[in-house]
């Protein structure tokens, strides 16, 4: 006869046993970096950014934005110590700036992550089509490959498959290794035989006018999207006070070095003056060409897996947002229901339907997928994340003004205020120069419509929040509580134990 496992537990050891099961800083860092999908940015975003914006100070932008986000992170991770919620940003905004602002923030987040997810099909399709034509002799349009990827992601989403564990570990390690190898190869073969540091200099950020910084900052933030996810694991962290900050800062540092290095190498290898032209001619090949040969081949294949992993990761981020909002009843409750194997089918299918509609619309209108789908929606997603971070910085200030706890002045006021001002400055510059960001003539409809979409989402969110306040006070009270909406508590341990 079998024996229960619990009888083997030694009395008084619950906390230690539980701590063993929780995540340490390396595991949280790994989770964050996995969502970042480095090769997607290095081979997809950076060359397209060089081409579309025509600006060359992208390496400096990565370093400066990393510093701004590090300042932002000081207050952000401090707030994680008091509010543990899987949808960190919007939960913070709801607590700091009020529940209607929280609903506005969550809709902004939903639009941003959706843009990031569906935009990836615009790179997946052409990349897969190119590989299939070159190596398999299969000639199919980009949208056919995008639809194939969409179908696989839809099925995996319904099976609730996260690419986790060793698969993601191998992919991530391989991607970073390839980027570093390409970077070293590029730096070892500089154009004209001279290593130029010009693109790393912060002075280059404003060389094309002050607005250039706003444009470059949006591109750079796009590379860091995912770093804000560390607090999602706060409830699972072994030492939330230490684990989450360590993982967040480590992720920022690593991302900054890898991306700044890669795009610096592209500029060095092709020459500062020619990198924009080279990017227009080569696209993702701008990175693959640094090392050439077998390294380039491996990088191209990994680019595909990276895009796919990123698309699946963002698909899962979006349905998790919808699920949390469904649980809170802020969005229809059906989004918060799960079926067999705890799969929230409705939320997952809605995101899939959005992806299908966007691919179909771009295919029907014959628009260039790489610039108009991948880069336009990608950067618009990045812009939305900046909006979200700015709101969050404001929320951190407001929250700590009411509940100072034992946080020092830097974390509860100076850092978030500085971050809010800098991020708001980036937003203003980006809106003014959105046409440059998209590579379209000033005043074009897309340059107005894409950022304006967030204003619409925010207004709808604010309005819906106020409607809930009047019509459904119980739902209103639970806004921002996420999974804890059912208990009505921020965290179970937010109160002192009874005597």
């Amino acid at each position: 006869m079998s024996r229960t496992q619990l009888t083997r537990s030694r009395p008084g050891t619950m906390s230690r046993a539980l701590a063993r099961d929780r995540l340490g800083a390396p595991a949280v860092l790994f989770f964050v970096l996995a969502g970042v999908a480095p090769l997607t940015v290095a081979a997809g975003v950076i060359p397209t950014a060089y081409q579309t914006t025509g600006l060359t100070a992208i390496p400096a932008a990565f370093l400066v934005v990393a510093a701004i986000l590090a300042i932002f992170a000081a207050g952000y991770v401090a707030m994680t110590r008091y509010i543990t919620n899987s949808g960190a940003c919007y939960a913070f905004v709801a607590r700091g700036l009020g529940r209607p602002a929280g609903v506005a923030a969550t809709l902004v987040a939903l639009v941003a992550y959706t843009c990031l997810q569906v935009g990836l099909y615009g790179a997946l399709g052409p990349a897969a089509a190119g590989e299939a034509a070159a190596h398999l002799g299969v000639h199919a349009p980009w949208w056919a490959w995008a639809l194939a990827a969409w179908a696989v992601i839809t099925v995996l989403g319904l099976l609730r498959v996260d690419i986790t564990g060793w698969v993601l570990g191998v992919l991530l390690t391989a991607e970073v290794t390839v980027i570093l190898a390409e970077t070293i190869a590029g730096l070892a073969a500089p154009a004209g035989g001279r290593l130029s540091f010009a693109t790393l200099s912060p002075t280059g950020l404003t060389s094309g006018g002050f607005g250039a910084f706003g444009v470059l900052a949006v591109v750079a933030v796009l590379g860091f999207v995912g770093f804000e996810q560390a607090p999602v694991l706060a409830e699972e962290a072994r030492h939330p006070r230490r684990t989450i900050p360590v993982a967040t800062y480590a992720a920022l540092g690593m991302i900054a070095i890898v991306y700044a290095g890669a795009c610096w190498a592209m500029a060095v290898h092709n020459g500062d003056r020619h990198v924009v032209t080279a990017a227009a001619q080569q696209g993702p090949g701008l990175l693959f060409g640094l090392g050439g040969g077998a390294l380039g081949q491996v990088a191209q294949l990994l680019f595909l897996t990276s895009l796919f992993a990123a698309a699946l990761a963002f698909h899962n981020v979006v349905w998790r947002y919808m699920f949390a909002l469904g649980r809170e009843n802020v969005l229809p409750a059906a989004l918060g229901r799960t079926g067999a194997n705890n799969i929230p089918k409705t939320a997952s299918l809605i995101q899939s339907a959005t992806g299908l509609a966007v691919i179909a619309a771009y295919a029907a209108s014959r628009q260039d997928p790489m610039t108009r789908l991948f880069f336009w929606l990608g950067t618009t997603g990045g812009f939305g994340i900046i909006l979200l971070l700015t709101l969050t910085a404001g929320a951190v200030i407001a929250y700590f003004a009411r509940h100072p706890h034992d946080e020092n002045l830097w974390r509860r006021l100076i850092a978030p205020a500085l971050a809010a001002v800098l991020l708001a400055g980036i937003i203003v510059l980006a809106i003014e120069h959105y046409a440059t960001l998209l590579g379209v003539p000033p005043g074009s409809a897309a340059a107005r419509a894409l950022p304006a979409g967030y204003a619409v989402a925010a207004v709808i969110g604010l309005g819906w929040g106020l409607v809930l306040k009047i019509r459904r006070p119980a739902v209103y009270a639970a806004i921002g509580l996420g999974a804890h909406a059912v208990t009505g508590q921020l965290t179970p341990a937010s109160q002192e134990p009874p005597q």
Partner: protein
């Protein structure tokens, strides 16, 4: 010997509901099953007034010993802790081994048997000894979806934990069209501590899902 009336223990009924009555395969992710069963084990002790829940903290209640070894073990571990812990921590702690522990209890009671295939200790194969007895808990939980006041506390807690851990689609279609609302009304009749336990169990399952841990 297995009987249609079951063992009378909530976690046992929940285990049978969460697994196929013929093959023994789980309907939920392992962590969700574990958290639901952990809630069931705590609920059993709360029904005996040996445990209480106060603002999310687990405290020991009346002196005494439960009838079963697993219940004694859970109570002993909680009593042996020097300081109080929130129910969320106890759910997470018990969830680690709850599925295997409850399966052993059901095996001893004659409701499950081990197959030669698979590794029971590693999420493997316990198979219901009698599919009818394994299906019966669904009928018991169903009573919580009917007329107000008709269900026992056992049935209501069972239904609440089942829906909270993700078995809503399996249970609710057996009730009336507004079964979710009826379940909410039945849950309202439970003592506050048990209501809180069910809510905390659901929150733990949802949190794990949102944190990519289910």
């Amino acid at each position: 010997m297995a009987r249609l009336s079951g063992t009378g223990l909530i976690a046992d009924d929940l285990y049978l509901m969460a697994h196929d009555d013929v093959t023994g395969r789980p309907f939920l992710q392992p962590r969700a099953v574990g958290l639901g069963l952990a809630g069931g084990l705590l609920a059993e002790l709360m029904l005996l007034d040996m445990l209480r829940l106060t603002h999310g903290w687990v405290v020991t209640g009346d002196p005494g010993q439960p009838r079963d070894e697993l219940g004694c073990c859970v109570l002993g571990l909680i009593a042996s802790e020097r300081e109080l812990h929130p129910v969320r921590d106890w759910l997470a702690f018990l969830a680690r081994t709850a599925a295997a522990d409850v399966a052993v209890r059901l095996e001893r009671a004659g409701y499950l048997r081990q197959t030669r295939l698979g590794r029971p200790r590693h999420g493997g194969r316990w198979v219901p000894a009698d599919p009818d007895c394994a299906f019966a808990p669904l009928g018991r939980a169903r009573s919580a979806l009917g007329a107000a006041g008709a269900a026992s506390a056992h049935a209501t807690i069972l239904a609440g934990l089942a829906v909270g851990s993700g078995l809503g689609q399996r249970l609710l279609p057996y009730g009336l069209p507004d079964s979710r609302r009826r379940l909410d009304m039945a849950l309202e009749q439970l003592p506050p501590g048990l209501r809180e336990l069910i809510a905390q169990t659901q929150a733990a399952v949802d949190s794990a899902l949102l944190a990519h841990r289910v």
